[in-house]
Amino acid sequence: MTDTAFVEFDRVQKSYDGEVLVVKDLNLTMPKGEFLTMLGPSGSGKTTCLMMLAGFETATHGEIRLDGQEINNIPPHKRGIGMVFQNYALFPHMTVNENLAFPLEVRGMEKSVREDKVRRALDMVQMGAFGNRRPAQLSGGQQQRIALARALVFEPELVLMDEPLGALDKQLREQMQFEITRLAHDLGITTVYVTHDQTEALTMSDRVAVFNDGVIQQLAPPDQLYEEPENSFVAQFIGENNTLEGRVKAISGGIAEVELHDGRIIDAKPVNVHNPGERTRVSIRPERVEMNTARLPEGAHTLEAEVQEFIYMGDIFRTRLSVAGNDDFIVKTRNAPGQTRMEPGQKIQIGWLAEDCRALDAA
């Protein structure tokens, strides 16, 4: 993808107890300036990866390289990596100014230089007026900004953030998401960001690495991740998703015919399936389901569905259908002129374009 790899995980494994691999065979390369998010459910090994990169855990196997240099044996304080912790970890016995001056002080910078940099870093996060406060005298969002400023004040090339917005309310979160991405891009920093909030991951990142069970399930830009999930886990984890179970009947011309349990046939794009007879789970986004089957191309398969529930949500309608034994099949339609509202119990025909329906592993 790029010429130079700035951060590189090369077949990294990690076990805490010698029995379970928390990280299994991690391979990851990041170019300079990229904003990469590690997204995954709790316990999937995201923090562990970050801690190995920062130097607080050692990889059990494999190599981690920073700017081409192997860092397994470099102590944390020599790695020059800025870090934002989930609990902020602002030093409680120091003022905001002292907190920010700390990394500069240990680098032996002069007082005047220090003060200048601290002031600029505080202004950068719009906290210029709070330099003399203690962390305990700040709100959560303000502490978050200070933690960010402290991680950036010594101008590291790589910044790690472990769920930095986890403790904030929704509105503040969205504002901070925007500010963090802006700062990261303005300063040209390479960022590894950990979250288990998928919206956060999709809106902020250049690329997202979806973690599960110590393995990267998919590493792709947000749009690709959403639209072209490579396996069932990613499809389920990112965004809303409808699934149907079945068996591949035939594959021809880039279209797989999938036979559902009740014998009906649907069209899908073969992603993880290769041969007829394989079990598969097809995945289709709620907004890609077509209820006006006249719009589908000639010869497309359709399914009968029964309306279970109709929810009016303002900009969209959300219809819950019962399809082929799945009572939780969601369809989202835009509140466009002429769009009809469904009644529960109503029987309709639905269909989709074959490329919108992905035949994935049966998991």
Partner: protein
């Protein structure tokens, strides 16, 4: 300008006078609303308050009172009937009429002779003599002997008394009697800092070989500081380890730390004696392994070393517990943050971890120091002559010499010293930072 400030003041004043809906001032309404719950809370703590008063405030007050009050030369209390009889009335009158420094003449001796008769009658010669003995040794027998013969004394009394014992001519006896003639006196405090009143009433140091208390106070102070320091040096790493280990290991180790509390202090001290004496385990081991020749066994008992070792061991938990309770909640991410910001592990410890443990150090040090200053049994058993602390002397005056007033004065000084320490702690660290566990 002045108008404006007045206006502002008025505005603020009117703002402050908030009222409830029916026009009562808000503060009054609030106080009324809270009074009931306050009263109830008071009833709940009343028993405790009473208990604390009875067991803490009253005894300490009494102790402080006793340190400045000794009526043994003023009246005699009958042990059974609790009746008090004034004694030395004539002599006290004479002291009142004649200023300090007056040469005692016939009138003084006459008063003394009459008072001695009373002493004999109410059987108070011993007690009164002991009171004088505190200030001038050898006076007790003077009193008992003279009181026995007092009835037979006849004018001129001066000669008669000098006949009984010519020590009566000694001005120090008269100075001591004058000092004792008022029940309230600061002389015990003077004695507690190795000072005494000279014949002319001025304060002077006692002679070199009777100086004892200041030296002991200093020794107590030094040893307590040393022991506090040792418990800190030994306890800090232990507490840190306990605080960083997973709970199931740290709980186990905590039991080891607390193990000393499970056995009696006396048993622990005795086991130190078994270990440390010259035929003890440590010396035997050293000799057995050939590290030490049999004839130069190390003397670790009945001196300061014994006191220091045993007390450090016994007081160690009092340092470890507050430290642990402060260290446990310190999130490891602070040190990690410091490291990621470029600090070496030493700098991260010194600048980030250590400052956050200071309240624990303060609490532990205060606790250990206060306990050490007042420690009694251990130094008494393993201390020998030069391992004795001030509390051993207080105990001596309470149980052996029965000079309770001096004991109280020594204890009063100790209390004052500790209060000063407490005040200093508050000044430097702040009492609200005190974390005891």
């Amino acid at each position: 300008m002045a108008d404006m400030t007045a206006d502002v003041a008025q505005m603020r004043g009117s703002q402050e006078k908030l009222t409830t809906a029916d026009g009562k001032p808000l503060k009054v309404a609030l106080a009324a609303a809270q009074a009931r719950s306050k009263r109830r809370a008071f009833y709940l703590v009343a028993p405790l308050l009473f208990f604390v008063l009875l067991t803490f405030v009253v005894p300490i007050g009494q102790m402080l009172h006793q340190s400045v009050y000794n009526p043994d030369f003023v009246y005699k209390t009958d042990v059974t009937t609790k009746e008090t009889t004034p004694i030395m009335v004539n002599l006290r009158n004479w002291f009142d009429e004649n200023p300090r420094g007056t040469e005692p003449e016939e009138a003084a001796y006459e008063a003394l002779a009459k008072d001695l008769v009373v002493l004999r009658e109410v059987k108070a010669a011993g007690i009164a003599g002991t009171r004088i003995n505190y200030e001038r040794s050898g006076s007790r027998s003077l009193f008992t002997k003279s009181a026995r013969k007092a009835k037979k004394l006849e004018a001129p009394y001066k000669e008669a008394l000098l006949d009984v014992d010519d020590e009566w001519a000694d001005p120090t006896v008269w100075a001591a009697m004058r000092n004792a003639s008022s029940a309230y006196t600061m002389n015990f405090y003077l004695a507690a800092i190795d000072k005494a009143r000279a014949v002319d009433g001025s304060v002077e140091a006692v002679d070199e070989k009777r100086k004892l208390y200041v030296k002991l106070f200093m020794r107590t102070l030094m040893l307590s500081i040393l022991i506090t320091f040792l418990t800190f040096v030994l306890g800090y790493p232990i507490a840190h380890m306990l605080a960083t280990l997973p709970l199931r290991y740290s709980n186990l180790l905590m039991i080891l730390v607390l193990l000393p509390f499970w056995t009696s202090l006396l048993v622990r001290t005795t086991s130190w004696m078994v270990l440390l004496q010259s035929q003890g385990v440590v010396n035997d081991a050293l000799v057995g392994t050939g590290l030490l020749a049999d004839e130069n066994r190390i003397q670790m008992m009945y001196n300061q070393i014994g006191t220091i070792i045993a007390m450090t061991h016994i007081l160690l938990p009092f340092m470890v517990l507050p430290l642990y309770s402060v260290m446990r909640p310190i999130n490891p991410s602070y040190v990690r943050a410091a490291r990621s910001l470029g600090a070496t592990s030493w700098t991260a410890f010194r600048r980030i971890y250590f400052p956050q443990t200071i309240p624990g150090i303060g609490a532990g040090a205060l606790l250990v120091f206060i306990l050490a200053v007042g420690y009694y049994i251990t130094p008494a058993l393993v201390g020998g002559a030069d391992g004795q602390l001030i509390s051993n002397l207080i105990a001596f005056h309470m149980t052996k010499s029965l000079n309770w007033s001096l004991a109280a004065a020594l204890a009063g000084l100790l209390l004052a010293g500790i209060l000063v320490l407490y005040w200093l702690y508050d000044l430097l660290i702040g009492i609200d930072n005190l974390k005891l566990g």
